[in-house]
Symmetry: C2
Subunit: 359 residues, 2 copies
């Protein structure tokens, strides 16, 4: 198949997975991906070792090229190579930046200040709520939220940022034409429309176990910092946090109960030096950014209605009405009435012994 | 009233609250508390400034002395001064060590390796359970548990350590003949019998607001480290942690939900450098001490019965049976049966939407 488009030439070069230094050398020598692919072996060999020459010369699977060409033909789809002005500058300093990104979405999102929010797939309801709320507040403070489109925390983080101007980027571990997991198909479509969906893998690449940890370096690399919301000790988000550390990005973690397996990964990170954060403001302060936008503050004020305040004062352990009176300073009747309304909304439940608990 | 007992002489000197350096100078010069009290002003003035001379010469309230003498007359009561071999060596390096301790209990506890466990008076049930369990495990690992006999975390820590050989020390902020708060009277008696009750204040001293933060320096000073279990941002346990820092003791804190006001003090400490701990073993590791005793390990194994394991895998957020299957690897029927048994014991409750939660 003829490599007549520059996008396809870049995609073909990327497919060959040359060592970054060799690729840079060849681009400096030949100035053009098409020229590299067309160059005789002897000419290549003047610049790079024999194994690289062999890799460039090796034939490329025609099916893969056809699938890639078909993907490129869609005007909504972008092949963004190193020489593209929209290539994320944040990735250029991480080492092993992919030569080509396959991208669906708004190009402007690729070079905005960003924060990654990641965590366990099997998250708790509270963890997902936290992810959503941190994402919403941080996006309102003008940070594009980057995550990995996994179930659980990742999905909640994307959802929280959708609808804000800063929006959200999903870095996926399959080709840009695949959605994994299938359950997030609708979310992926929303992100492609209102945010950006980004992959370093050729169209057609199925989910492969080894590609996900590798993909994580882009999640951290695109961001000023990585916030881990909930993570078991085996969560892939700990890999993202490690990449962040190596790339000089900040690492933030939300603590939780010592009895929750979903807090253990976060606690491990905090022990290793991650910043413990309780609020979006903590993240902004660490990054040296300002307060959340007035919108965020306003929505916070709006949320301070009696029931919401009651809910936030309840914490997450069983609590008595007496304790709530003490914490809120509100009279007993107001507390009791508020608890009943919250129970009707299924936001709290009554426990034996006069205790109440959030749910 | 004649100061004919050495204990009463020490108590009288302590009552005068001389600057530590002046008291040391006088003891070096006169070699004896009775000799200091009997010395003419001119002789004292050769060693210490005029305000100290005036303080030594000032008359002491006879009622206070009578109350003190009466307290001393009880053979169970000990006045332990700097020159007493049982004076806690750990206190000698904190600066401002009280010249005299009023003590009820076993003298041997005053010079054992110790750990302080402190926290909010208005703690959550989970916080109190954590305090009790950490205290039990650390006492089983041979650390005497020091705390302040307050309601909430302090009381739970004392309770957890009672009955172990390492036992517990209560450092109180009133005279040794007073119990504050009154609700802890029975606990104070148990501690006086099986552990030790310690005060730097003269018998008869009522609870005074300013004495409690000052007392906290002894809690941290007696210990190798201070573990804060739950603390609001206004909790006095943060003062104890600050003393610990100044005295070169370790500070440990247990994290919790970012929505719990009782975790905020702990999170503040962790951000300031306290060690985040999830288990008693974490504390022992940081202190360079060994594993908990075999008893502790055995009881841990015994606790790994199916229901207990289920309970621990539930964490503290609502959870589905599916998630429990995934976390435990147990079949659905076993999980369902376990949940029903736990519900009968009022250890879990069913929530709308197929969720279960610990209570």
């Amino acid at each position: 198949m003829a490599l007549d488009s520059r996008s396809l030439q870049w995609a073909t070069l990327a497919h060959k997975a040359l060592p970054q230094r060799a690729l840079v050398t060849l681009l400096q020598a030949f100035d053009d991906p098409g020229a590299i692919l067309a160059a005789p072996a002897a000419q290549l060999a003047r610049h790079v070792p024999a194994d690289v020459v062999a890799a460039v010369a090796a034939p490329v699977d025609d099916n893969a090229l056809t699938a890639t060409q078909r993907w490129i033909d869609d005007p909504q789809h972008h092949v963004i190579a190193w020489d593209d002005g929209d290539y994320p500058r944040a990735l250029l300093d991480i080492g092993h930046a992919p030569p080509v990104l396959f991208y669906i979405g708004s190009r402007v999102l690729l070079n905005r200040p960003a924060l990654a929010i990641v965590g366990s797939r099997h998250a708790t309801p509270q963890g997902r709520t936290n992810a959503r709320e941190f994402a919403r507040a941080l996006a309102a403070a003008n940070l594009t939220i980057v995550s990995g489109l996994a179930l659980g925390i990742d999905a909640a983080a994307h959802e929280g940022a959708l609808g804000t101007e800063a929006s959200t980027l999903a870095v996926i571990g399959t080709g840009p034409d695949r959605v994994y997991p299938a359950r997030n198909r609708e979310l992926a479509q929303q992100i492609a429309q209102a945010g950006g969906l980004l992959s370093e893998f050729l169209p057609g690449t199925p989910p492969r176990k080894e590609n996900f940890p590798r993909r994580n370096r882009l999640i951290s690399g695109l961001a000023r910092g990585v916030l881990v919301v909930e993570a078991t000790l085996s969560s892939g988000s700990l890999i993202t946090a490690r990449w962040a550390g190596e790339q000089g990005r900040e690492v933030f973690a939300i603590p939780g109960s010592i009895h929750s397996p979903f807090a253990k990964g976060c606690h491990k990170l905090i022990r290793e030096g991650a910043k413990l954060v309780e609020t979006a403001q903590d993240v902004l302060d660490e990054l040296g950014l300002g307060s959340p936008s007035p919108t965020t503050r306003a929505s916070k004020t709006a949320a301070a209605a009696p029931e919401s305040e009651l809910l936030s004062m309840m914490g997450h352990d069983p609590v008595t009405i007496d304790a709530l009176i003490e914490r809120t300073g509100a009279p007993a009747e107001a507390i009791a009435a508020g608890l009943v309304r919250l129970e009707l909304d299924a936001l709290v439940c009554a426990l034996p012994g006069g205790y109440w608990q959030r749910q």
